[in-house]
C-alpha cells in the first residue's frame, strides 16, 4: 500500500471533475432535481376527482348508513352518484369510468359488510382512493366496524406485481434501447466513422432510418422475449437435486399480446431516435450515461408507473404527456390489464401519439447529423 500512488489516483479523479463541469454539475443537480420532483409529486399529487356510488342491499339500516356515507364522502371531496342502485350497474359504471369507486353494502349475519370496488388498473391510484374512503367509512359506522372487502374490475386475483407488469415492460424496453443506441451513436461521432460516413453519398435520413431499422430488429426480439417472459410461464419439474421452478412471470393478460407488442415496439423506436438526437449533446460515453437521470428518471416518476398522470400536480401532468413512456405505458395497461383492443379510442390515441413521437424524434435526430460538421 503506497499512499502516494493512492493519492495520485484520488487526485486524478479530482482533476477529472474539475475538467468535466457537466459531470460535476450533474452530481449536485441531479439529486436535487430527482428529490425535488419526487417531493413535489408525492406531496401535491391528488387523485383525480373521485366519484362514488353506494348500493344498499342491507335493508333499512343500510339506508341510514348510505345516507351517512354519502354525506361524509361529499364532505371529503368525493362526487356522489345516487342514480346507481344495483351491484351490477355499479360494477359496470366502474368499468366504464362513470364512477371510480363503488361501495356495496350488505349484511353478513349480523355484521355489516362493505365491498369496495375499484378498477384495479393502477394499484397506487386505487389505494389512494381506498385510503380516503376508509376514513369516510370509519366515521359512518357508529359502533362495530364493518367487514371491508376490496374488489377490482380488472386484474382480479392478480397481485400488486401483475398490475405493475405492463408499466415495467414499457420502462425496461425504453431504458435499455435508449442507453444502447445512445452509446452506439456516440461512438460513431467520436470514433470518426460518422465523419467517414458523411464523406460518402449517404443521406442523413438514410443514417437515421438505418439505425432505427437495425435497432428495431433487435428491439423486436427483445420486446417479444420480454412479453413472453412476463406473460407466459413454463413449469419445469424437479430434476435431480434441482428444485422445480416456474420459468416466466405468468402475468395474466386480458388483451392481445400482439397489440402490446406493437405499442412496445413504437416506444422502442422513440427511444432509438431520442438517443440519436441527444448523442449530439454528449462528447463521451460517460456523458450519455448522464442523460439517464435527466431523461429516463423523470419519465419513470411522471409516466404513470407509480402515480396516475392525471393526479400529477401543476405543470407536471402536461409535461408527462410530452414523454413517450407515458403513452406507451398507458397503452400497455389498456391492452394487457383492461383487455382493450384496437377499437378502443384510448389505444388508438396511444398508438398514434407514439408513432407521431417516433417520427418527430427521427426528424430531430436527422437534423443533428450535419454533413458540414463545422
Amino acid at each position: 500500500m503506497n499512499l502516494r500512488r493512492t493519492a495520485a489516483i484520488a487526485r486524478r479523479i479530482g482533476e477529472f471533475f474539475r475538467r468535466d463541469h457537466r459531470t460535476l454539475a450533474l452530481m449536485f443537480v441531479a439529486p436535487i432535481v430527482i428529490m425535488g420532483l419526487l417531493g413535489w409529486v408525492i406531496r401535491d399529487q391528488r387523485p383525480p376527482a373521485s366519484t362514488i356510488a353506494i348500493v344498499n342491499d342491507a335493508g333499512p339500516t343500510g339506508d341510514v348508513v348510505r345516507g351517512r356515507i354519502s354525506s361524509a364522502a361529499t364532505a371529503a371531496g368525493f362526487g356522489y352518484r345516487d342514480d346507481i342502485t344495483t351491484d351490477d350497474a355499479a360494477r359496470q359504471a366502474v368499468k366504464d369510468g362513470g364512477i371510480n369507486v363503488a361501495v356495496l353494502l350488505s349484511v353478513d349475519g349480523s355484521t355489516p359488510r362493505v365491498v369496495i370496488v375499484t378498477p384495479g388498473l393502477n394499484p397506487a391510484e386505487d389505494s389512494a382512493r381506498i385510503g380516503d374512503l376508509r376514513t369516510v367509512l370509519s366515521g359512518a359506522f357508529a359502533q362495530s366496524g364493518p367487514i371491508i372487502d376490496q374488489e377490482t374490475i380488472y386484474n382480479q386475483g392478480g397481485s400488486f406485481f401483475d398490475a405493475f407488469a405492463p408499466a415495467l415492460v414499457g420502462f425496461v424496453v425504453f431504458f435499455l434501447v435508449f442507453v444502447l443506441t445512445g452509446i452506439s451513436f456516440l461512438r460513431e461521432r467520436v470514433g470518426g466513422t460518422l465523419e467517414r460516413l458523411l464523406a460518402t453519398p449517404v443521406r442523413r435520413q438514410e443514417i437515421v432510418l438505418g439505425y432505427s431499422a437495425g435497432f428495431a430488429f433487435f428491439a423486436t426480439l427483445q420486446v417479444a422475449l420480454v412479453l413472453v417472459f412476463v406473460l407466459g410461464t413454463i413449469h419445469i419439474a424437479s430434476l435431480g437435486p434441482l428444485p422445480e421452478i416456474n420459468l416466466g412471470l405468468g402475468v395474466a393478460s386480458a388483451g392481445s399480446p400482439l397489440l402490446a407488442f406493437v405499442i412496445t415496439l413504437l416506444l422502442a423506436l422513440s427511444a432509438v431516435n431520442l438517443a440519436i438526437f441527444l448523442s449530439t449533446f454528449a462528447r463521451t460515453e460517460f456523458q450519455i450515461i448522464q442523460f439517464i437521470p435527466l431523461v429516463v428518471v423523470p419519465q419513470v416518476l411522471l409516466s404513470g408507473i407509480f402515480w396516475p398522470v392525471a393526479s400529477l400536480p401543476g405543470i407536471l401532468a402536461p409535461i408527462a404527456r410530452l414523454m413517450p413512456m407515458t403513452w406507451g405505458i398507458e397503452g400497455l395497461r389498456e391492452v394487457l390489464t383492461k383487455g382493450a383492443g384496437l377499437e378502443a379510442t384510448t389505444v388508438q390515441l396511444d398508438i398514434l401519439v407514439l408513432a407521431g413521437m417516433a417520427i418527430v424524434l427521427a426528424v430531430a435526430a436527422t437534423l443533428t447529423i450535419r454533413r458540414e460538421v463545422v
Binding site: G192, T193, E195, P201, R203, V374
Partner: protein, 251 residues
C-alpha cells in the same frame, strides 16, 4: 515524374479564394489551387497549418466561410459527387467489433460498390486478404490503418484524399502503398496526400507547401529544392515562412 498524356487537362480540384475561419483563427486563408487528374500531390505543412481543414473543405465536410471549392467540376459541398471521392481520415474510422470484410463491405455499399471483386481487390492492396474474418479489435494499429485505406479506396474513386495514410505502416508496406498510389494516378485518379514524412514527399509528382492557411509554394520536389535553395523540404518551410514567429514544429 509527369502525368500521362491522355489525361484531361481540366482541373480535378479547383479552389478559388477558399477561406475557412473558426472565430479568430483563419485555418484556410484565401487559397487558390488547381490540381489536375492523374497526378499525386503531396500536401505538406506543420501541425495546424490548415491541411486537414483544406481536405475537409474539399470533401464538403466543412463549409467555406468564403470562396469556393470545386471537385470534378462540382461546387462542394455536394452529396452526389462524394461517390466519386475517397477519403481516408486521420482517425481510424472503422468499426472495432466488425470484421475486416464487414468494414470494407459497409463502406463499399455506402459508396455504391460492394461486389465481391471490388472488396477482394481492396483487401489485396492493403495485404489483409488473409485477415478478412478477423474482428478489427484484434488487429494491430498498422493493420487498422491499412483497413482504413481499403475502406477509402474500395469504390475506385476518381479523387482521393489521404490524410497521413502511412502513419504506423511499416516501410515495406509503405513502398507497396506508393506503388499502388502510382497505379491509381496512372489510371487517371487525382491523389492529394497529406504527409509529414519527408522521404515520402519525393514520391509525389508535385508538392504543396502549406503554412498559416496559405500555400507557400508548389512544384516538384526537385523544383522546390532548387528554387528555395535548400537540400531538405523541411528547411524550405523555415526559409519561406513569411511570419517572424518561429516555425511550428513538425509532429
Amino acid at each position: 515524374m509527369s502525368a500521362p498524356a491522355d489525361v484531361p487537362t481540366e482541373p480535378a480540384i479547383l479552389a478559388s479564394k477558399l477561406t475557412k475561419r473558426f472565430g479568430e483563427i483563419t485555418a484556410v486563408d484565401a487559397l487558390d489551387l488547381e490540381l489536375v487528374a492523374g497526378r499525386i500531390y503531396g500536401l505538406l505543412g506543420p501541425n495546424g497549418s490548415g491541411k486537414t481543414t483544406l481536405i475537409r473543405l474539399l470533401t464538403g465536410l466543412a463549409k467555406p466561410t468564403s470562396g469556393e471549392a470545386r471537385v470534378l467540376g462540382t461546387v462542394m459541398p455536394d452529396r452526389e459527387i462524394l461517390g466519386r471521392m475517397g477519403y481516408m481520415t486521420q482517425a481510424e474510422g472503422v468499426y472495432a467489433e466488425l470484421s475486416v470484410w464487414e468494414n470494407v463491405r459497409f463502406f463499399g455499399a455506402l459508396s455504391g460498390r460492394s461486389d465481391r471483386e471490388s472488396l477482394e481487390s481492396a483487401l489485396r492492396v492493403v495485404d489483409l486478404s488473409d485477415r478478412r474474418n478477423t474482428p478489427v479489435l484484434e488487429l494491430s494499429g498498422g493493420m487498422r490503418r491499412r483497413l482504413s485505406l481499403a475502406c477509402a479506396l474500395v469504390h475506385k474513386p476518381d479523387v482521393i484524399f489521404l490524410d497521413e495514410p502511412t502513419v504506423g505502416i511499416d516501410p515495406q508496406l509503405r513502398v507497396q502503398f506508393w506503388e499502388y498510389f502510382r497505379g491509381l494516378a496512372a489510371d487517371g485518379a487525382t491523389l492529394l496526400v497529406s504527409s509529414h514524412v519527408m522521404d515520402e514527399a519525393d514520391r509525389c509528382d508535385e508538392l504543396l507547401l502549406m503554412l498559416h492557411g496559405k500555400l507557400l509554394t508548389r512544384g516538384s520536389p526537385a523544383e522546390i529544392r532548387q528554387r528555395v535553395g535548400v537540400q531538405d523540404i523541411e528547411q524550405a518551410f523555415l526559409k519561406l515562412d513569411p511570419l517572424p514567429t518561429p516555425a511550428p514544429a513538425f509532429k
